[in-house]
């Protein structure tokens, strides 16, 4: 192996692969290190891959990349114990290129992406865990892995939500259970025709369903169902602190979710082929570490660059953008021949000019709003019970909707509170 690289990228997820690919394409000597058996082996997603950044790296990437389905239908479903009420958005525009978002299975997608980096000239090594950073005074000068030391002008830590490197470099405090959400997921095999018939899809179009309410037993979190080509991704995501406080197990929530009358029909006849879990750095702005120091940049989940507003959960697109920004910063630093933190501060400038930091900043109050318990319990229940009253014909004289709504709200939430939550939600997310 080379004695010294221009850059070492740690972690072959979307952030790391985007950085390594961009650097290799510019002719820099770059090493991409991955601890899994292959790129993607340690990764899973409970989200949607939105296309804009990837499309600038690989125009029309969906023709080549192993994406599952493009999302043409986006559904929000409120669950009570025995009922559900959905908002179902179907768009012909989302069904035409360049599309809006895609479902992906990360073991396949990340592997493809790392191959792209390799073809562009990056050296990719797998099955290597990076144990530590190498320092020369205040400057990071390489990595220590499995007893070996490898030198580089700069290290890009794209080592995921638990980023041991950002922590070792002192850029980040220890994570707290309020910072992260725990996602658990099953991949459930179903024949292609069954999926398309059941979800009203054709060709490679797909649906993303977000669930709120019973799926988390009313605590801070939600459920999801995505269609892949020949499988469904079904899971729940719950704030770690909410699990602790309520002594809940994600796996039990997932089983309850799967057994819900609405969900049961959607997964019927399927065979579970994998069970996975992962953390999401959901607190965004509040938990963001320092993004760089002398000789080191932090990207993707490691930098907590995830937008979790409840309206959207966007991590992979942010990871890609930060990986590209990190690479652009390194290219510039190489031209200047200086990898000190002043030169690397360009990274934060790039992110501040893009949607990455602008979105995280704009929605920084979202996490306060999302802490309101009523979103996960009272409102989904209210929505379902009100719908039931509206649609039920039981032989008694009927009441108008306003009256029904007031009756259903009684003892659950005041009109004043509902309006206040509505306004603060509209502002926060």
């Amino acid at each position: 192996m080379k004695e010294k690289f221009d850059a070492i990228v740690v972690g072959a997820g979307p952030a790391g692969c985007a950085a390594a690919y961009t650097l290799a394409k510019a002719g820099l000597e770059v090493l991409l290190v991955e601890r899994g058996k292959f790129a993607g082996a340690k990764n899973m997603t409970g989200g949607v891959l939105y296309g804009p950044v990837l499309n600038t790296l690989f125009p029309d990437f969906w023709k080549d990349a192993p994406v599952e389905r493009h999302i043409s239908r986006q559904v929000i479903t409120f669950l009570s114990e025995r009922a559900s009420l959905s908002i179902d958005f179907n768009s012909a525009d989302f069904d035409t290129p360049p599309y809006n978002g895609f479902t992906v299975l990360r073991a396949k997608f990340d592997r493809w992406f790392a191959q792209k980096a390799e073809q562009a000239g990056a050296v990719v090594i797998t099955r290597i865990r990076v144990d530590d950073l190498l320092w020369d005074k205040q400057q990071v000068v390489g990595i220590a892995a499995g007893g070996d030391e490898i030198l580089a002008s700069v290290v890009i830590a794209a080592d995921g939500v638990n980023s041991l490197l950002a922590q070792k470099a002192g850029l980040r405090r220890r994570l707290s259970p309020e910072d992260v959400n725990q996602g658990v997921k099953e991949v459930i095999k179903l024949p292609r025709e069954t999926i398309e018939g059941r979800f009203n899809l054709s060709g490679d179009s797909g649906v993303a369903i977000q669930f709120l309410g019973f799926c988390t037993k009313g605590v801070h979190g939600g459920g999801f169902l995505y269609t892949n080509k020949e499988s469904l991704s079904l899971g729940v995501v719950v704030q770690l602190e909410a699990l602790i406080k309520n002594s809940l197990k994600s796996i039990e929530l997932l089983e309850g979710f799967k057994a819900h009358p609405t969900v049961k029909e959607l997964v019927k006849g399927g065979t579970t082929v994998e069970y996975s879990a992962h953390l999401v750095p959901a607190a965004g702005w509040r938990m963001m570490p320092r993004l760089y120091t002398d000789g080191l940049l932090v990207a993707g989940d490691a930098a907590a660059l995830v937008l979790a507003t409840g309206r959207a959960l966007e991590g992979m697109n942010f990871a890609l953008a930060s990986g590209v920004a990190a690479a652009e910063t390194v290219k510039r630093a190489k031209e200047k021949g200086d990898f000190g933190k002043e030169t690397l501060s360009y990274y934060e400038k790039l992110l501040a000019e893009s949607f990455v930091l602008q979105d995280l900043k704009r929605f920084k109050r979202a996490s306060q709003f999302l802490a309101i318990q009523r979103i996960y319990s009272t409102y989904p229940d209210l929505a379902c019970s009100l719908a039931e009253r509206i649609f039920r014909v039981d032989g008694n004289p009927k009441k108008n909707i306003w009256r029904l709504m007031r009756e259903e709200m009684k003892g659950r939430v005041s009109l004043w509170q509902l309006i206040r939550d509505g306004i603060s939600g509209g502002r926060a997310i």
Binding site: K42, K108, R127, V161, S231, E274, A277, L279
Partner: protein, 106 residues
């Protein structure tokens, strides 16, 4: 450490995997003999909260005779246990390169 029968999830796969051992049996692991989890027993013993028992999505932590014990083999490498253990009794790192969980779908 001998594997407790409750943890021995190998070969228990079925069509409707409700229990954790059935779910874990679906996954591919390259088990490392060297554990990537360490428990500081003297701190652990004083803990009343024991959040590790329910935050671990692989149920790697179990209560046996009033004591928390663990098994690293089914670990999904999410890191929840270490973050949740306010007492700091859990020392968790990634398994050595190439070992541990290997997702085929993800």
């Amino acid at each position: 450490m001998a594997i407790d029968s409750r943890w021995d999830f190998r070969g228990k796969s079925n069509m409707n995997p409700v229990g954790i051992e059935h779910k874990l049996a679906l996954n591919k692991y390259e088990v490392d003999r060297e554990a990537h989890i360490r428990l500081k027993e003297e701190i652990c013993r004083q803990c009343q909260r024991r959040s590790c028992l329910y935050v671990c999505p692989a149920e790697c932590y179990k209560l046996r005779e009033g004591k928390v014990s663990y098994n690293h083999e089914g670990c999904l490498e999410c890191g929840s246990c270490q973050i949740s253990c306010g007492e700091g009794a859990i020392e968790w790192s990634y398994p050595r390169g190439g070992f541990g969980i290997s997702f085929e779908y993800g």
